[in-house]
Amino acid sequence: MNRREFIKNAALAATGSIVAPYILPSGRLFAQTGSQLAQHVVLVMCAGGIRHQESIGQRYLFDAQYTYTEDPDLLNLTGNIMPNLFVGDAPADKIVYGSGSNGQTPIAPILGQPMQMQGTVFTEATAGSASHYIGLSQMLSGNLLSKQGLKMKPLTPTIFEYVRRFMNPQSEGAATKVWFIGNTIGNSVPLLNYGLEANYGAKYGANFFAPTVTFGEHGRRFLAAAKNYHPEEDFGRMYEMRNFLNNSFLTTGGILESLGNTPEEKYDIKQFMKKMFDADFETIMQFVPENPNQAGNPENVPVINRDVSALVYATEVMDYFEPTLIALNLDGADSCHSNFTSYLQALHRQDYAVGYLWNFIQNHPVFKDNTIMIVAPECGRNEFPNALKDNNDWYAYDHSDWNAARTWIVMAGPNVPQNLLLQSPGNNGNQPIPVARNTQITLTIAEILGIKQDVINAGFADNQSLFDIL
């Protein structure tokens, strides 16, 4: 079966599901309990730990460095280095976050209007955790996961599982309609595509790629020259034989957990991989501008880093599979543990990546005016620096104190109020009171896709969505 046939069949199946109500695995007759606010949701986890001060706070080097170095050149040196997300002027001096020689050239914003003006910004949110993995798990599961360990799958169901369980498994809830894209396989990121809760788990999990690995040097070496078996004549027979072997093993042993991609979906995933391997990296990244005349310059800071690369591949996944839900993890900012300059460059690139993605959505016939995008860091970073300094003599920051729980959330798309800025109502001591919680993101996605009540009934997630506090 080729892609066109697969899409045709999928479309027929979707049409059939409208005519004939589908009985979900959960036993309910119809897929959704509520109306959808949009057909697609994109969640961008600007992860790696982003300090409120340098991102939405636009404090650049003033707070983080002048306070501790007392370098007079940094006095009052504030400015916005995330122009695709937030409104504000760029810093006037000491530009290191851009591209080209020593990062002196800011990357031109893609969006004519920052997302802040196109949607709603929850300026002060709380992560409930100062850890990367727990922070990501909380955003995806809607649960504080107080007993969650590292290097283990989330203890409660993820939004991927809710979507696949409560939406029509033959169309919006099909396996290839739910994706998780990581920029790395480090920090246990691949474990986040489903949780451990009974009655959910792998069979409702998201498909996952870490494109910089899957389609990187090693992926190309071990996967690109895959033999092109015929989906029916070859794989059909091999699956028959495999099924016989599995039936024999079932009598005495166990069974592997599977994501539940149908043979057609598996074939389609392989065809997508082939497409990525057939295209060279430069072609896939063709719309990312690079500074010219930088070849051989050892001080050149390229636009494309691991985050940008993963995100551009994510747009390829979106174009090919047209997912109902796709979540992306970008974590370049984690370099802040030892290198503040690199962290600023990563923030600027995460902003560029978000702009690239929103621009892609607004120019895609399937996603335009039909997609809500949510952007949020998984956690912040400390109020005070550690002892490490980078080449600019700037201090680095870890994440463990109250400031590391400070985040923000940006949301834009149909049915989302535009140009709305929700500020903190005040301070509790010296700590701003949050207006939103990262755990509310799960129910927000559920509400957008019309399965809010199902997720509330499941009883695992924060039972308030971001729409509830607008």
Partner: protein, 173 residues
């Protein structure tokens, strides 16, 4: 006199019973192939174990630790492990493609020809069970394979190997 005879008899009896010929016992071990019963396979292979064992099963050559580490990373980067295994296998089997890992390493999948497989299906299936599952097939399994391969003449040894390598039992040890 009586006492002397009794003492002589006693000495003689002691001599007979105490001086016994010493035998040397030599124990041998019969050749026996140790195989697993599928019921005993309850531990899931790690990605690295799966890859390492697959490599040896196909090429009869161990994979280098560097390659195993790198392929382990690639394996982790794909969410659907069935897709990951099928892609890796499809590449491993493609040993005559100059771009494939196997070709570049000079590895060839050790497999009989189609004619060899069909000339003695029972031996081929028994060998394949031993190779991939470390056990003998049951009579029922042998019979199923005999019927299946006779009914499907387009099934090749490569396809049989593929089906074993993606089966559930192969995921366990």
């Amino acid at each position: 006199m009586k006492h002397t005879a009794f003492l002589l008899l006693l000495v003689l009896l002691l001599g007979i019973t105490s001086c016994k010929k010493e035998y040397i016992y030599r124990y041998g071990v019969d050749d026996l192939t140790a195989t697993n019963n599928s019921a005993q396979k309850g531990k899931l292979k790690t990605p690295e174990q799966y890859i390492a064992i697959l490599h040896i099963n196909l090429y009869n050559i161990p994979m280098s630790s560097n390659d195993m580490y790198r392929l382990g990373q690639v394996y982790q980067s794909i969410g659907d492990k069935e897709v990951a295994q099928e892609q890796i296998l499809s590449n491993f089997m493609n040993d005559d493609n100059p771009d494939s890992y196997a070709h570049q390493k000079g590895y060839v999948v050790v497999k009989p020809t189609n004619a060899q497989m069909r000339s003695n299906i029972e031996d081929f299936i028994t060998d394949t069970y031993n190779r991939f599952y470390l056990r003998y097939p049951t009579q029922a399994e042998l019979e199923w394979w005999r019927q299946y391969l006779n009914a499907h003449t387009n099934v090749t040894p490569e396809m049989v190997f593929f089906s074993f390598a993606i089966s559930n039992e192969y995921q366990y040890y």
